[in-house]
Symmetry: C2
Subunit: 126 residues, 2 copies
DNA sequence: GCAACCTACAACCAATCGGTTGTAGATTGT
DNA sequence: ACAATCTACAACCGATTGGTTGTAGGTTGC
């Protein structure tokens, strides 16, 4: 079904969260199920506009819609929200690597190369 | 100086991270200082394009530039990255609230209203 | 049956985005 | 002095975004 790179997913997720209306919708649908029209009542824009925002969130996997009667009830997907957090900590991990290397440098100023070969290219090359 | 709502900050931060080139730049500048031209060498686009990406990240507060000689050395701001994580956990917090309310409902099915008045509006209103 | 409601989607529009090229200024090395 | 390098920014362009209105179809209640 939804094929795509991890980077594609990250693009879609961060983009989906880069709009205050969509973030507000996320808070509401994480608190509980809401129909699209119920969501739309809270915003000063057309129903179609809110529907588009919901579609963006749904395409990113941040919410799922369940059809009951004539209503489409949207629920927030907490696991997907957490996966965004994982992407951030993965980026923070790179920073931890820098600190570890700095510690190495302070601990053993004798050898030019560190004892453990770093998996990250640190050359400044300028 | 940089006035703006928290929501404005969130808009800028998520938007800045919603591009794979900018995320890659973030990983590099979190690992260590890099000049803009050194960063540009890694991407299949013009120097000016990379410079714009760096500017977006800088405006969002995700990196800071330090001028040394003719070079502009960019460093990743780990605290700002973590503040994005905080925004996410703040959103997750809303979800925890839902679960807590569900637990309340299961624990005391006698009273119609919960004992602690919820700070979040849970009415479905449809 | 039919009016009211909810959803979906198309078509359009101004603004923004991500890229380009070009120009100009400051710094460096020889 | 001068060529090479690094940065900054303006102007432009096609694609995307976030909004609008309009149209159409399924569901509900009377």
């Amino acid at each position: 079904m939804t094929e795509g790179t991890n980077e594609d997913r990250a693009d879609a997720l961060f983009h989906a969260l880069a709009d205050r209306t969509r973030r507000d919708i996320m808070r509401r649908v994480l608190a509980g199920e809401h129909s699209v029209s119920a969501l739309a009542q809270h915003y000063d824009m057309s129903f179609a506009a809110v529907q588009k925002h919901v579609a963006v969130l749904e395409r990113a996997g941040l919410i799922t819609k369940r059809r009951v009667g004539r209503e489409a009830l949207a629920t927030g997907d907490i696991d997907t929200v957490r996966s965004v957090g994982s992407m951030l900590t993965e980026i923070e991990q790179v920073w931890r690597g820098r600190i570890a290397r700095m510690d190495d440098l302070l601990a053993s100023p004798s050898e030019s190369g560190s004892s453990s070969p770093s998996p990250i290219d640190t050359t400044k090359e300028h």
